[in-house]
Subunit: 216 residues, 2 copies
Amino acid sequence: MVITVRGDIELVARAGHLFEGVTREFVCAARDLSTWAQPQAREAVRRRMAWSPGGVGVRKLLSPAALAGEESRRHLRLLAARGVQVRIASRPLPYETIVIDRSYAIMAGDPAAGVREYTVTDEPALVGGVWSLFDGVWEAAVELEAYLGTDRPHLDDAERAVLRTLSLGRTDEAAARTLGVSLRTYRRRVAALMAALEAETRFQAGKRAGELGLTS
Amino acid sequence: MVITVRGDIELVARAGHLFEGVTREFVCAARDLSTWAQPQAREAVRRRMAWSPGGVGVRKLLSPAALAGEESRRHLRLLAARGVQVRIASRPLPYETIVIDRSYAIMAGDPAAGVREYTVTDEPALVGGVWSLFDGVWEAAVELEAYLGTDRPHLDDAERAVLRTLSLGRTDEAAARTLGVSLRTYRRRVAALMAALEAETRFQAGKRAGELGLTS
DNA sequence: AAGGCGATGGCAGCTTCCTGCCATATACTC
DNA sequence: GAGTATATGGCAGGAAGCTGCCATCGCCTT
């Protein structure tokens, strides 16, 4: 069974009961928090949320863009406090996706289009496949608190350059030469980088950089 | 449009033309290489593959289980040599998935069932969503060569212990003391760990450890 | 012009790290 | 027992890394 609806209101009308019928699991991937802008939709979601403490696993997967505003962060933290698992994926997820109880999948159409289309299905292969892919992305994504906590130390150009030479395994002397600065300055910058990464040793700095995926 | 077929043969009969009509992109996620066991299916895939050099981007995403046998590895390397991008996801992907030209999605049903069911669709929202999720997993997955190369360096207890002390930022002397070995031995083990991580400096070792998620 | 400020470079001394060499110990094989 | 392999510890010398101090330079403000 596959149905396609246009817009939030029609979605709620046709598939709203699915939201309220969640018994075990509700997973949701989205680029940001702007979906469900319609009051009716939000209301339906809220009604569902009220049940969540009762054993329904709710997982919300978002892209970093969802953390843009301070308000968004507060909202997400609130959700997390209510038991919703929130993770941040490294890439945007333009097509919003919902899987309910591993039985129904709801996917939003191209966001570039005007009125948003939603496709709802209960085909086992589709639902299973989508859920499985979701789970893969979920596994690779990082916990909200961890993401906010690390606070992604913003490195300036000099620090990035230092990071690169360190990653190459050069000696300080060679690195300083390639960067065109003195040994003293280079080491000062290494010290600055380590401070930025809250590391006391170069090993710790490297580990931190690796964990944060600072490749450059 | 959504159709469901039972078994490889019927899939090829009903959707085989999709494989041969690839023009831009062919992506595929699977747990292992056992799919397409049927000769007809393999043949269809092979015909498709013959075109791939002509600009079709082929991405194959597998779980580590696909690397079980030496034969599998050879096969994958062969594919890679032919221009197929092969990556290994960290988790198994029980539901096999194919997306062709971002226009058609084919998803296999529960592998536990007897005859395998396949669902084929061209619903934009479904295809787009599946593709997007695939891309997310893909991004988090690791290149075949990198995976085989690094081969998840298996660290013994001694190396794990060293890793822990290094992560704590202790000096070698303190670390050696807490581990109850001499300074010389401790440093030998650090050198061994660095060799295992293919690192030339402690920074690189830390980075590698961070990237590999070696927390302990 | 004068002064403050921040980044740089040189120097020096210190700590830490790295490794080759040798001696010892333990275990395993023949 | 003799021989071999492997892990350990000590020592020493060298390489690399760290940082305090001071002088210099460019830039900005007053």
